[in-house]
């Protein structure tokens, strides 16, 4: 019985971490699909979300909701600015150069955050208290429920957006064939900018909802970014649902590994999974191989 309770505990915390990885992975996938590059600054948007919220809430004394909204807005503007200043001017550059630029940008954003907010670790108060709830013998924090709820909302919203709105469809069209998209009158540059804006918004949201559980500091973006990258590699870049499943799977494996083997292997598990997937199934567990019918 004790084992079972432990298992439920690991599964719950694994799933909630996994949901965060899925959100971060979403950001990777959206930018990758629109531009063909991997945005290694994605983790920094996550950090910005958490740190900005701490800043507005704790230092400026704003109420929670305005602090969150303001933080997401600022992170989104940061994403757009990043695209305008660092990506768009090099319009014909090869993806590898742009990827290196995103690494540079991530170092820059991290450094700026350190200069502004210092090296301290900050805690964000949980959204609705720290009174644990008991489910099937396991304890769960209300913050976990927030994480699940918000993740589900983001997934539903993005599915509606990409499948049913004309702008979302236009973004998918650009991702599939940018030249054909421009020939039907879609401004590809706007779509690329939009992909950075959406990624930054989702990333910062992830950073905000995880901050009450894990604390936040100027350098949380590195590890969270890499975990989100693992999620999207496990799931496959092309599959939105795959990214979600990839994130959840990664969170579960980490939590179970940390619980039953050793907590010090928690991060190693993510990298082992990443390497295995890259060796054995580079298109991801749920990604589709391109098939062409002529």
């Amino acid at each position: 019985m004790d084992n079972f309770r432990q298992l439920t505990q690991y599964v719950l915390s694994g799933l909630s971490n996994g949901a965060i990885y899925a959100l971060i992975g979403f950001g990777f996938a959206i930018i990758h699909n629109a531009t063909g590059i991997i945005n290694f600054a994605q983790g920094e948007f996550v950090m910005l979300g958490g740190m900005l919220t701490v800043f507005f809430l704790v230092f400026c004394g704003f109420p929670l909701l305005p602090a969150i909204v303001l933080s997401i807005l600022i992170a989104t503007v940061a994403g757009i600015t990043f695209e305008r200043l660092a990506i768009r001017p090099l319009k014909d550059a090869k993806p590898i150069r742009l990827i290196i630029i995103t690494i540079g940008a991530s170092i820059f954003i991290r450094g700026a955050a350190m200069l502004i907010w210092g090296k301290d670790t900050h805690a964000l108060p949980a959204f609705s208290g720290n009174e644990p709830l008991y489910i099937a013998g396991a304890t769960i924090m209300p913050q976990h429920l927030w994480i699940f709820g918000i993740t589900i909302l983001v997934i539903i919203f993005s599915r509606l957006f990409f499948n049913h709105s004309i702008i979302g469809k236009a973004m998918r069209a650009c991702a599939y064939n940018a030249q054909a998209a421009s020939l039907v009158g879609i401004d590809v540059k706007i779509m690329v900018m939009l992909s950075f804006a959406i990624s930054a918004a989702i990333g910062s949201l992830a950073g905000i909802i995880i901050a009450p559980l894990t604390m936040t500091s100027f350098d949380v973006g590195i590890m969270l970014g890499i975990k989100g990258f693992c999620a999207v590699i496990i799931g496959g870049m092309s599959s939105g649902l795959g990214t979600v499943l990839g994130g959840l799977l990664l969170g579960l494996l980490e939590a179970l590994g940390a619980g039953f083997i050793s907590a010090s292997y928690k991060d190693a598990i993510a990298f082992i999974v990443l390497l295995l997937i890259l060796f054995l199934r580079p298109e991801g567990l749920f990604g589709k191989k391109e098939t062409e019918r002529v």
């Binding site: 069209a173 030249q179 009158g185």
Partner: protein, 247 residues
């Protein structure tokens, strides 16, 4: 309606179009013939803003368009049906058509007109209506070509640029496509610039024609005259092959 004056287009170092000038009048079907690599697709892409010319001028109803981006040229009323169809395969047939009308999505009161245009496209190509909820990736080559033309028509262009619409299609289906093209010109009064491998079929449909060779326009004239032209017959229609050494 359209005047091209002395354009020069480059792909990197390659000088793909050399001092090309041509004009189109409203309501015409004009065909552009030439061998592979002669620059036909490049010329269409220069007009569409995908590979803007480095020098020269393109006037559409006396407005210069050679500095506009591709999506702005669509707004002006020029749509291209690109080589190889370039359909958005992960999206449904209906969504592909919907994206064809992308430039109208922010204007009010366009919904009715968009619906009418979709109905018009389905009337031209009834098979697309049957398949409207299918992913475009599941269509056959002919159906993809129909969808590609339909998608371009959704923007309600004044000028339609068609790049090799019969490529890779069975003769019956190619005939069907050609029939629709002639209909578009007759009934919708759409002006058409047609690039075709099948020079004979193209010249039979067209009012006028231009012959492009290694980036230069070497011949222009009424389509009927070009069909009779000895050079054209020998190089592009496969006639009189023997007579070169029999003569």
């Amino acid at each position: 309606m359209l005047k091209i004056k002395n354009i020069n287009t480059y792909y990197g170092q390659v000088h793909a179009l050399k001092n090309v000038s041509l004009h189109l009048s409203a309501g015409e079907i004009v065909t552009l013939i030439g061998a592979n690599g002669a620059g036909k697709t490049t010329l269409l892409n220069s007009m569409s803003g995908i590979v803007p010319p480095r020098s020269g001028e393109i006037l559409f109803y006396d407005v210069p368009i050679n500095n506009l981006a591709a999506h702005q040229i669509v707004k002006m009323g020029i749509s291209q049906v690109p080589e190889g169809r370039q359909i958005f395969k992960p999206l449904s047939v209906e969504d592909n058509l919907g994206l064809g009308a992308y430039l109208y999505h922010r204007r009010k009161g366009e919904k009715e007109q968009i619906k009418k245009t979709v109905a018009m496209v389905y009337e031209l190509f009834p098979i697309l209506k049957e398949r409207k909820n299918q992913l475009a990736g599941t269509l056959s080559g002919g159906e993809l070509q129909m969808l590609s033309i339909g998608r371009a028509l959704m923007a309600r262009p004044k000028l339609l640029l068609l790049d090799e619409p019969s490529m890779g299609l069975a003769p019956m289906i190619a005939q069907e496509i050609f029939r629709v093209i002639v209909n578009l010109s007759r009934e919708n009064k759409t002006t058409i610039l047609l690039v075709e491998q099948n020079a004979r079929a193209a010249l039979k449909m067209a009012h006028r024609g231009y012959v492009l060779e290694t980036g230069r326009l070497i011949l222009e004239g009424m389509a009927a005259d070009l069909l009779e032209n000895k050079e054209v017959q020998r190089a592009y229609l496969g006639k009189d092959k023997k007579e070169i050494w029999e003569r």
